[in-house]
């Protein structure tokens, strides 16, 4: 055992280039395939997550274009009923489970450790495992879809339609198993994010000084922890009904179709806030940087985010107003659904106040925020409309609702996401995106979006129900649907423009340097792209906006080992330094465990025995993943 004193540490005696070389050797991920598959660097896993989730956005978008082409004209025979049902089910499933939730988490995996001033996410191997399971789930459902075994009962799969009698074959089984994949990965990442945000903040970054994006991800991760089990339980019951003949949803044997709806929407509504709250985090960071002042009324913003997170669990029944439950119960859910408009309204006020008080610079990210504000407020207001029971009984399951949720999901999450990618692209790649092209993308995106989705409000009021593969002519829906379809292609063009901008900027974007936007948060204190170890020394925070509060040299804390991967742990409330924790070394076992889990999950679609026999290799992989390798760096003496 080497004595604690003479272990190499960063500090006065080891700094600058020597420190960089020494730390790089400890933290770097070599280029060979094995190292790339075994990496646990949050930046590499984060980039993979972002690229994969964005790819699913594009795939889901293509499905949307096919749907709009089919619906552009009445009585269109372009696509058969069965094909259209699979396409709209896959569009919903891909966008909700494979793009929206994972993308919020992907950006957090990349950004949170950098924003908090630490070297890696808290459970790096669990995080790598989460990505592999997510990728496997996405590939499984898309391969099933291309083999004509895609889901056919919508992204919500109401029983008894999704039950064993009315949805024969393996289609709904693949959908239900895909839920298991994406929920396992979302839960794993959330636990990592919660631990990172609570325990690995830079010294001095008290809970009240955290960046708003960190608050957004803390609230989102806690919501994932309490919401996802509901859909895992519901989908497990559904798979059991379909494969081993349990009777959870069989109305004639004591089961109940509404058990599925209650469990699904208890997850479903928090899910849409799990998708939307990271968007709030993006908007707050962009507004702060481009208005050159901290967001107005920080405590109000935080309280609003937390109250949205809590309220989201109390209003799932507003998805079930038409199912004939007792009316007095409904008025409670109307009030709860209305109340959630208050915190959102206050946040909108605070962002605009930040622009009012600050000196806004209207680059592309801030333009996306403006597009977000205009679109999201309209979406929120239509949401207030459908919170009222009588109105919802007319508008539920019509195209009015399709318009509403695209306003709050595309407006509320995709616009801020595109702004966030433009904002953090220089930090991730070291090059700025093309600014004029960025502005053009915002304009085209905004116009395309509203051309596509505003007419749907009117189509819905005119009585067009959702999820119809065609509609008769002469109902007053014809021109409205045509306009929506044109708008959909315009919006797709904007997304294409965005992708081209990214591809062009990767090679020929202007070099960005560490802090191109003069931003306040810690990730802009290190190089672009950041070194494998993020920060040579752990920064110390003295205020809300670390880089603005310390114009000169940045205060830092030294003393972390450089020969082994080590992080600094701080207390939950005040972030006082509390301990040093060894960060997990790269390992191939998370990938192998993910493969074993995938085989178990897919096998269990065909035989329940796969759960029993598949559990053995999965357990073996997990044990090998946990078992310390003898070749590790010498541990510190046991009793200090």
């Amino acid at each position: 055992m080497t004595a604690a004193a003479d272990l190499p540490r960063d500090g006065a005696e080891l700094r600058g280039e020597a420190l960089h070389a020494r730390l790089s050797r400890t933290w770097d991920t070599p280029g060979d395939l094995y190292a790339r598959l075994a990496t646990v660097d949050h930046k590499i896993v984060g980039q993979r997550y972002i690229v994969t989730a964005f790819a699913f956005l594009l795939l889901g978008g293509v499905l949307a274009l096919i749907m709009r082409t089919q619906l552009a004209t009445p009585d269109s025979g372009l696509i058969s009923a069965d094909r259209y049902n699979q396409i709209f089910s896959m569009h919903g499933t891909t966008m909700m489970f494979l793009f929206a939730v994972p993308m919020g988490e992907a950006m957090a995996i990349y950004l949170i450790p950098l924003m908090l001033g630490t070297r890696n996410i808290s459970f790096p191997r669990l995080n790598a495992f989460s990505y592999w399971v997510y990728l496997a789930g996405g590939i499984m459902i898309w391969v099933a879809f291309l083999l004509n075994v895609g889901p056919e009962t919508g992204w919500f799969s109401y029983v008894p339609l999704a039950g064993p009698e009315y949805s024969a074959g393996k289609r709904t089984d693949f959908w239900a198993q895909m839920i298991t994949f994406t929920e396992v990965s979302a839960l794993a990442t959330s636990v990592s994010l919660i631990a990172s945000i609570l325990k690995q903040r830079a010294p001095g970054m008290a809970i009240g000084r955290m960046p708003l994006f960190a608050w957004a991800m803390l609230v989102t991760s806690l919501m994932v922890v309490f919401a996802m089990p509901a859909v895992m339980l519901a989908s497990s019951f559904l798979i059991a009904d379909r494969l081993v003949g349990t009777q959870f949803y069989n109305p004639t044997e004591g089961g109940d179709a509404l058990l599925w709806q209650h469990l699904f929407w208890f997850f479903g509504h928090p899910e849409v806030y799990i998708i939307f709250i990271p968007g709030l985090g993006f908007v707050s960071q962009i507004t702060e940087t481009f208005c050159r002042r901290p967001v107005f009324a920080y405590p109000v913003m935080v309280l609003a985010m937390v109250s949205i997170g809590l309220l989201a669990f109390g209003l799932w029944v507003h998805h079930m107003f038409a199912t004939g439950l007792p009316r007095v119960g409904y008025s409670f859910y109307t009030a709860a659904s209305m109340m959630i408009a208050l915190p959102s309204g206050l946040q909108i006020f605070c962002w605009i106040a930040t622009m009012w008080l600050g000196r806004p610079r209207f680059d592309a990210p801030l333009l996306w925020v403006l597009a977000f504000i205009v679109t999201f407020v309209m979406g929120g207001l239509t949401g207030v409309m459908v919170a009222s029971v009588p109105l919802d009984l007319q508008l539920h399951d019509t195209y009015f609702i399709v318009a509403h949720f695209h306003y709050v999901l595309i407006g509320g999450m995709v616009f801020p996401l595109l702004g966030a990618i433009t904002y953090w692209f220089p930090k991730i790649t070291g090059r700025l995106m093309h600014e004029p092209l960025g502005k053009a993308t915002v304009a085209l995106g905004f116009v395309g979006f509203h051309t596509a989705f505003f007419p749907m409000h009117v189509t819905g009021i005119l009585g067009m129900p959702r999820r119809v593969y065609t509609y008769p002519a002469g109902m007053g829906w014809d021109t409205l649907n045509l306009v929506s379809s044109i708008g959909a292609f315009l919006f797709a063009a904007a997304i294409l423009l965005f992708v081209l901008n990214i591809l062009w900027s990767l090679r020929r974007g202007r070099p960005a340097g560490p802090d191109p936007w003069a931003a306040p948060t810690l990730e802009w204190a290190t190089s672009s792209p950041p070194a494998p170890y993020n920060f040579p020394h752990i920064p110390v925070v003295t205020g809300h906006a670390p880089l603005w509060d310390e114009p000169g040299d940045l205060p830092v804390m030294t003393g972390l080992r450089v020969d082994d991967r080590e992080l600094l742990l701080t207390t939950v409330m005040d972030a006082d330094p509390e301990g040093r924790e060894a960060s997990a070394l790269p390992s191939i076992w998370p990938l192998i465990a993910a493969i074993a889990t995938t085989i178990l999950f897919i096998g269990s679609i065909f035989t329940p025995w796969a759960v029993v026999w598949g559990a053995i290799p999965a357990a073996a992989a997990l044990i090998a993943w946990f078992w310390p390798k003898s070749g590790d760096v010498p541990p510190e003496p046991v009793i200090e």
């Binding site: 919508g154 109940d256 038409a322 208050l342 006020f349 504000i373 009588p390 009021i461 009585g463 129900p465």
Partner: protein, 326 residues
């Protein structure tokens, strides 16, 4: 009618379709339409405020040291305004609920119906204490104007949703549960309802026709519908009748007063008099009827109506016989 005109004057202008929530041909739909107008004005007002504040924040001249205190007070004011607005909307919604519940108060006793939804068509039963007055039909509801209607809803297979936007809001039909819906048609006319809960392959073709007519027309229609189907006279009619009764048609469909008593498919009593065929999919004329019988799977792929191998003459016989059932 004054308020109705106010509603249609809104940007929703040309909204008086036969399947439109903004038309308000039923008392319930009219009340909800007014609530929608109130919501539209209040939410529009708030949206305008946000746009003004945003525009001002973008265009204003930057002057340093502007008071943050003023902004904090404005924030408090904004919070109060939102709370007030939400409170008003919640109260309006709550009272609308009460008006809807009491919409049929003080009127003649409601007409009782039972609607059973199946994969992709509607079975309609007019309930009556006297068994002789009970009437079963499919995909069409005749209603007397001005008389309340009480419909009990049930589903045979999966979840459907009964929705006639011109008359009232929707209500799901759930297997294993019975739900109900109240209507009060006020304006005579022809309306269209459609299933609003995704229910499988042919969810898009699961509509029904609602015909609101004066009370005496309704009574005339009802007595004619209750009468058994006219017996065949001419030898040709007898041959058509014989073919229909001895082949697959009779095992799924029912025609009152004939040996055809199948309850798997829609009731065909008086099918010739209906406005549309195959749950609102096709207009009801001889060519469409023949095309539908010949090959239903091309019109409604996945429909439970199978493709029956028939020669031209047999097809002609079935079509001719059904044409007599008006």
């Amino acid at each position: 009618m004054r308020r109705r005109a106010a509603l249609t004057a809104l940007p929703l202008g040309g909204c008086a379709g036969i399947q439109s929530a903004a038309d308000g041909a039923g008392r319930h739909a009219a009340i909800v339409g007014d609530l929608f107008t109130l919501f539209l004005w209040i939410t529009g007002f708030f949206f305008l405020l946000v746009l003004l504040f945003l525009g001002w924040a973008i265009l204003r001249r930057r002057s340093d040291g502007t008071a943050e205190r003023g902004m904090a007070v404005t924030l408090a004011g904004w919070a109060g305004l939102i709370t007030l607005g939400l409170f008003a909307l919640t109260i309006a919604s709550f009272f609308t609920d009460r008006w809807l519940a009491a919409a049929s108060a003080g009127r003649e006793p409601p007409l009782r119906l039972k609607v059973t939804a199946q994969q992709w068509w509607w079975q309609i039963e007019y309930l009556d204490p006297l068994p002789a007055n009970r009437l079963r039909t499919a995909n069409v509801i005749h209603l007397p104007a001005g008389r309340p209607v009480e419909i009990s809803l049930a589903a045979e297979d999966v979840i459907h949703s009964f929705w006639v936007p011109n008359l009232a809001g929707k209500q799901d039909l759930i297997p294993g549960r019975t739900t109900d819906i109240q209507l009060l048609p006020t304006r005579v006319g022809r309306f269209r309802g459609q299933c609003a809960e995704f229910c499988g392959l042919q969810h898009a073709h699961m509509a029904l026709d609602i015909i609101v007519e004066p009370a005496k027309d309704f009574a005339a229609w009802r007595t004619k519908a209750l009468a058994p189907a006219p017996a065949p006279q001419t030898p040709q009619q007898k041959a058509d009748y014989a073919y229909f009764m001895t082949h697959q048609c009779a095992s799924c469909h029912a025609i009152s007063g004939t040996p055809a008593q199948g309850t798997i498919g829609p009731d065909l009593t008086g099918v010739a008099g209906r406005l549309s065929l195959a749950a609102g999919t096709l207009p009801n004329n001889r060519a469409m009827l023949q095309g539908w019988i010949a090959n239903p799977q091309t019109i409604k792929p996945g429909s439970r109506m199978p493709t029956i191998k028939m020669s031209g003459a047999e097809l002609e016989a079935v079509t001719a016989y059904l044409e007599t059932l008006s």
